[in-house]
Structures are given as C-alpha cells and as structure tokens.
C-alpha cells in the first residue's frame, strides 16, 4: 500500500490507464481536426469522436445527436442554464434551483438574475433532499427551467429526479440536472428519468480533465439552447470551437468502462463506504451528514463533534480527504451545503468528506479507519470543547466571544 491514500474522488479521479491508452494516438498520429471533412486525418479524428459520442450516449440512454461536448461540467451547466434562459425568454423568466447546488449552477443563476431572471432557490430538508411539495408550490406560469443536481458533491445525496422532472413538466417547464457526481456511478437514464438537459464531466469518472458533456433532448420536447460560444458552428451550432479530440476520446472510453463496470464497482464501493462509516460512527459524537438511503455509493460525509476539520485533516496526514471547514477555503464561512442541511456552524466545521473511487482498496480503507480514529482522539485530547462536553457543560449556554 502506498501513502498518501487518495480519498477525494469527488474532487477529481485519477485517469484510468485504459482511458490513457485510448487517448494517446490522438495526440500524435491521429492528430487531425475532426471538422476536416476532406482528408483522412480529419476522418480518423472524427471516427474517434463518433465512437466517444456513442459511448457517452449509451451511458445516459440518449442518442448521439443529443450529446454536446464542452470543456467540462461547469461549461455545460453555463450553456444549459444561460442557453435555455436566452432561448425561452418569450415564454418566461423564472428558474428554480436549490441552495445545495454546485457553484457552477448557483453563480450562473445569480448572473442571470442581473439580466432579468427571477430565481427561486429551494431549501433542502435536514437530509439534503428537496421537498417536492415546496417545488410544486414554487412553480409558476413563468417558470421555464427547473435545475436540480442528481447527486450532491459534498454529501452524496441523490435527489428524487424522476419526481422532480414530472413536476417541472406538469407546469410546462424544462428539467435540467447537473449529474457530474452521478453519471458513471449510478444508473442514469434521461428517458426513464424525464431529463431534458444534463451536464457531466469526464474527470469525475476516471477520464481526463477539460472535457464534459451537455445532453440536450431532441424529441418530446425538442429542446434548444442559445449558443454561449460563437464561431465555427460545431456541435450543431450550440458550442463552437475545435473539438478536443483526445479529451473526447478519453471521455468516451471512460463512459464505456463505467457502463460496463458500474454495477460491480458500486457494490464494492458501497460496501467499503459502509465499513468506513460504521467503524467511524461507533466513536462518540460522530454523525453522518445527509440522507443515508438515497445516495451515491462512494461518498461518506461525517462530522466529528468538538474537533475542527482542518486541524483534523492535518492529523490525518496520510489521507487526502476534504472538509466543510471554513479554514480550508479562502472564505472563512463553513460549507454552505452543510449549513443548508441546518447543521450548526460548529458541526459544519467538524466535517470530513471521504470520497472513494475505482482504485480504493480495502486495505486502504482499513488504514483510513485507524488513521482517522487516532487523529480524532488526538485532537479531542487537545480540544477544550471536548473537555467541557465530558464535564457535562452545555456549550450552547456559554457566551462565546464572537469574532
């Protein structure tokens, strides 16, 4: 076993060696521009792109023509939301999303608010799921788009996508989902789920960084988005720019591997995740954040009360994880996702996200369990809050000097 151990697979994943192998020729011998229609170099590149498009389509159950390649999920989110807002502005200006969305969605919505959009940010319940009744109540005749993520990047909860889509459609709105954390990890089928637009990225599923997909439905209904990047009219005019052929080939290979191996991988990872989670939550005052029934197989988000996340990560020095603690980012606010669940700030500061992946082994999980336990105990020995808790002092009754 090599140290440090990578358990931050929600941030990014390593490239699968099989994906790299598929990509390599497209940097050198097969370097052509996929848009070059009149020579073999272009045709070979185009074949690579076509195969990738087919694999991406198969993974989410759509047709090849509905796949628009982008530079990643952030661009796909931007194109989907801004593109729908612009295309359907005669129909209405209301967009519904949720407070726990990724910044690529939230900040895009904020941007559109400046351009005249009306945006509803749905709160989530304590378990991280949205309230369907609240969604229905928020729908108006002006609502053109509901955009709710498939699986959450911090806590892994999976939203009731099918039900959300049905409500959106009932009111004549389109339904979009940022499925970056879900595609390739759990079965996603745009037709079964009723999804009109869907964004995902290759680097969260063992593919390369810098390439992603926006799925745009072509039938029932035919959805159109206004291009946000003008130029040569690539990708059916929705996203101009010379195709990133090696990246797209890598995305395609990654999609293929996920489709073939997803079931076995999900079973293996959820067993490892459960092992990690149950071993860590036997410790006093440790809590799993988010719904534990409806969730991705590879994420565990745990708060260890009375220790601070960044300090804790320093003690877990051979483990690469992430924390909802403020101190990990430049802003001093703790995770807005955890706060949206109604978690108090101190619990949000005490959270650690473990993101398992294809290359995580049981040996690594065993090591992570021991290492985390040791770190938590070490920091609790240093923690005045833990001492006060042990003495039976009610911390909420203390007048803290806010700073």
């Amino acid at each position: 076993m090599e140290l440090p151990i990578y358990l931050d697979n929600n941030a990014t994943t390593p490239l699968d060696p099989r994906v790299l192998e598929a990509m390599l020729p497209y940097f050198t011998t097969k370097f052509g521009n996929a848009a070059s229609r009149n020579h073999a170099f272009g045709w070979v590149a185009e074949e690579g792109v076509d195969y990738a498009r087919e694999q991406a389509a198969k993974l989410i159950g759509c047709t090849e023509k509905e796949i628009i390649f982008t530079s990643g999920a952030t661009e796909a989110d931007n194109l989907g939301i801004k593109g729908v807002f612009e295309m359907y502005q005669d129909k209405g200006n209301h967009i519904i999303t949720a407070t726990t969305e990724h910044k690529a969605v939230l900040d895009t919505c904020k941007h559109l608010e400046k351009l005249g959009a009306k945006v509803t940010y749905l709160k989530v319940k304590e378990d991280g799921l949205i309230d369907l009744a609240e969604l229905e109540a928020a729908m108006t005749e002006q609502t053109i788009l509901v955009t709710i993520m498939y699986g959450n990047n911090e806590i892994g909860v999976v939203q009731p996508i099918k039900e959300i889509a049905a409500i959106a459609h009932k009111f004549g709105a389109l339904f979009m989902t940022d499925a970056t954390q879900a595609v390739g990890k759990i079965p996603v089928d745009v037709n079964a789920d009723g999804i009109d637009l869907l964004a995902f990225s290759a680097h969260k599923m063992y593919g390369p960084k810098g390439v992603g997909v926006l799925y745009v439905r072509r039938k029932n209904p035919r959805v159109k988005v206004t291009a946000q990047m003008d130029g040569g009219g690539h990708e059916r005019g929705m996203r101009s720019g010379t195709l990133n052929v090696p990246g797209i080939v890598g995305l395609g290979k990654a999609c293929e591997l996920c489709r073939l191996e997803m079931d076995a991988e999900a079973t293996r990872l959820s067993a490892l995740r459960d092992k990690l989670e149950s071993a860590l939550t036997v410790m006093e005052e440790s809590y799993v954040n988010g719904n534990t029934q409806h969730r991705l197989p590879h994420v565990a988000n745990i708060s260890f009360k009375y220790v601070e996340g960044e300090g804790l990560m320093m003690a877990m020095k051979d483990l690469a994880v992430s924390s909802g603690s403020a101190c990990t980012s430049a802003s001093l606010e703790p995770s807005y996702v955890l706060k949206s669940l109604g978690l108090s700030d101190d619990l949000a500061h005490s959270s650690i996200r473990f993101g398992l992946g294809r290359f995580t082994t049981e040996e690594e999980i065993d090591y992570a369990i021991e290492n985390t336990k040791k770190a938590v105990n070490h920091l609790r020995d240093l923690s005045p809050l833990w001492e006060m808790f042990k003495e039976g002092i009610d911390l909420s009754k203390i007048e803290w000097a806010e700073h």
Partner: protein, 137 residues
C-alpha cells in the same frame, strides 16, 4: 496551502497541553473564540508570589495554525512576569510561525487568550482588569 515547518512542529508535538485548576487563586484562565467560527482557545497561566508565570497550559479547538499559535504562546509565557507577558504581540507569533495572511486571526486569538488569562488572574486577586483594545477581527 502548505504549512510552515514550525507550524507542523508545534502541531505534531504541541507543548503544554492540559488543564490547570481554574478555581485556584494563582491560576488565570482565558477562553476565547467561538465554536461557530471554527476556533476556541483556552489558555491558562499559573502565577507565583513574585508575579512570575511558572506554568502555562492550553487546549485548542481549531486548525493547525491555531493549535501551533497557542502551543507557542504557552512556551513563551513560562518564566515571564505577568507584565512581560502583556507585551506579547500577535505579530510576534505570526513572524515566529511564518503564518500566511489568512491565518493571522489565529495569532490574534492567541494574544487575546493571553490577555484574557492575565485579566482573570488579576480580577481573582483583587486587581482591576486591564482595559483591552477592542478585538481587531
């Protein structure tokens, strides 16, 4: 963000972790920060009849820099008179630990903890608390 070697050193081998008897007249206790803000420091000093700090202990809930700042503070406090201890400035801690700008608040908290412990000791022993400038964060 990488930590400086000195922060890592204090974090890995924190000095003077522990608890003094907060009810003793010779002990001053400072508890500063707030759990919601992600850091709480408790710093205690024990003072002898010559006004010399003979022992100092801390416990801290917070990031590595907060733990290192309080560990360093206890190290500096031991052997100083109370008056000398009052002159410890947060920027001395920043310099010693090479804290980056986003971690300066950890040193501020440590300075607050020192002053708050001294004032607790003063009040317990019939002296007026020293007026502290309003915390700068």
């Amino acid at each position: 963000m990488a930590y400086s070697e000195k922060v890592m050193e204090h974090y890995t081998n924190p000095r003077n972790v522990g608890t003094l008897d907060k009810n003793s007249k010779s002990v001053g206790t400072g508890l500063v920060g707030a759990p919601e803000c992600g850091d709480v420091m408790r710093l205690q000093i024990e003072v002898d009849e010559n006004n010399v700090i003979t022992d100092a202990k801390f416990k801290t809930f917070g990031c590595g820099s907060a733990i290192a700042s309080s560990s360093l503070a206890t190290e500096w406090l031991k052997g100083k008179t109370v008056d000398e201890a009052m002159t410890i400035d947060n920027m001395d801690i920043v310099e010693e630990l090479a804290l980056p700008p986003v971690k300066i608040h950890c040193s501020v908290l440590a300075e607050d903890a020192i002053k708050s412990a001294i004032n607790d000791y003063r009040v317990k022993n019939g002296m007026d608390p020293i007026a502290l400038p309003k915390s700068h964060h």
